[in-house]
């Protein structure tokens, strides 16, 4: 068995020069098959084989470095429509990538057609302090019965929190629905863990939206209009269409 594999970054129908290093500092090259181009690197299986990867993926520094290298290549390639491939997709050799392009060429072309002239934007919404439950209950309870008073305050507080939660969920759905109407396609990612995002506020929405290039400004303005009243809305992008190039495995 060979000691190297072929790492696949992205598939496009047009090749552009990629002058950045790939994962593990490897040079990036292209493989052409019919109407499709694959961006690949030759990687050592000592690092990208199944067993080493199981360990490496648990190593934050390795993961961050690999994710950034993968992203750099995709960004370079994304000067034309591109279908990014999921992180650490490694084939035994170039022939297997050729075979993939032959076998699933139609699907790749359909995905590329879908993202042409469109870009992905990320929208994250956070509930700030104002959307949280009231600090003190409206009803002070019965002053003559401190125990009852405590329990009623507690109930009130829980009710307030539950109400705030429901309002926030509704608000997130409204934001997502409004943005989805302007977008060609949309998708909700799972909310980020506050320990990772560095935001203490509650993340209500972690959305991705595929938007026609001509409507970028309109989309940004809409995002801006949906914040306020204790909800902080943040826009990221444009991204290569990572969230909209999911092919069913096959």
């Amino acid at each position: 068995m060979s000691d190297s594999g072929t790492y696949l970054y992205a598939v496009a129908s047009e090749s552009v020069p990629v002058d950045v290093p790939g994962v593990a500092g490897t040079p990036v090259r292209t493989l052409t098959r019919g109407a499709l181009v694959a961006y690949v690197s030759t990687v050592p299986l000592a690092e990208f084989g199944e067993e080493p990867l199981r360990h490496s993926l648990e190593d934050l520094d390795w993961l961050a470095e690999t994710a950034r290298a993968h992203h750099r290549v995709v960004e370079e390639a994304a000067r034309v429509p591109v279908a990014p491939v999921r992180l650490v997709t490694v084939y035994a050799d170039d022939d297997q990538v050729h075979e993939l392009l032959d076998r699933r060429g139609e699907e790749f072309l359909a995905v590329l057609f879908h993202v042409t002239g469109r870009r992905e934007w990320g929208v994250k919404a956070y509930a700030g302090q104002a959307a949280g439950p009231a600090a003190t209950p409206v009803n002070g309870g019965d002053p003559g019965r401190p125990g009852t008073s405590y329990l009623s305050r507690r109930r009130e507080s829980l009710r307030g929190r539950e109400q705030a939660r429901r309002l926030a969920v509704t608000r997130a759905e409204h934001i997502h629905a409004s943005l989805s109407r302007l977008a060609v396609a949309s998708r909700r990612h799972r909310a980020q863990d506050p320990r990772l995002s560095g935001h203490d506020e509650w993340m209500l929405l972690n959305g991705a939206y595929l938007v026609d290039v001509g409507r970028d400004e309109e989309f940004a303005a809409l995002v801006g209009s949906l914040g306020g009243d204790g909800v902080d809305v943040r826009l990221t992008g444009p991204w290569a269409p990572y969230s909209f190039t999911v092919l069913e495995p096959g």
């Binding site: 299986l45 934050l60 961050a64 960004e75 999921r86 297997q96 993939l100 990320g122 995002s197």
Partner: protein, 64 residues
């Protein structure tokens, strides 16, 4: 609203928050199976990576 990235200008990869990037790289992109050395579908990549991240991150995190 704060804008993390300007619309008309792709920012260098190092300015992109790692957590936003991983949302996309681990849950998006074309997933292909077959003769892969590592079949990603076999590994819950998101779970593994989040565990690694949470174990490694202490406090606010921004990409380098």
């Amino acid at each position: 609203m704060r804008r993390d990235v300007l619309s008309d200008d792709r920012l260098p990869a190092q300015r992109v928050a790692l957590v936003d990037l991983l949302d996309r790289l681990l849950a998006g992109g074309v997933v292909v199976t077959g003769d892969l050395v590592l079949t990603i579908a076999d590994v819950d990549l998101v779970r593994i990576s989040l565990r690694a991240l949470i174990a490694s991150v202490d406090g606010p995190f921004e990409g380098p």
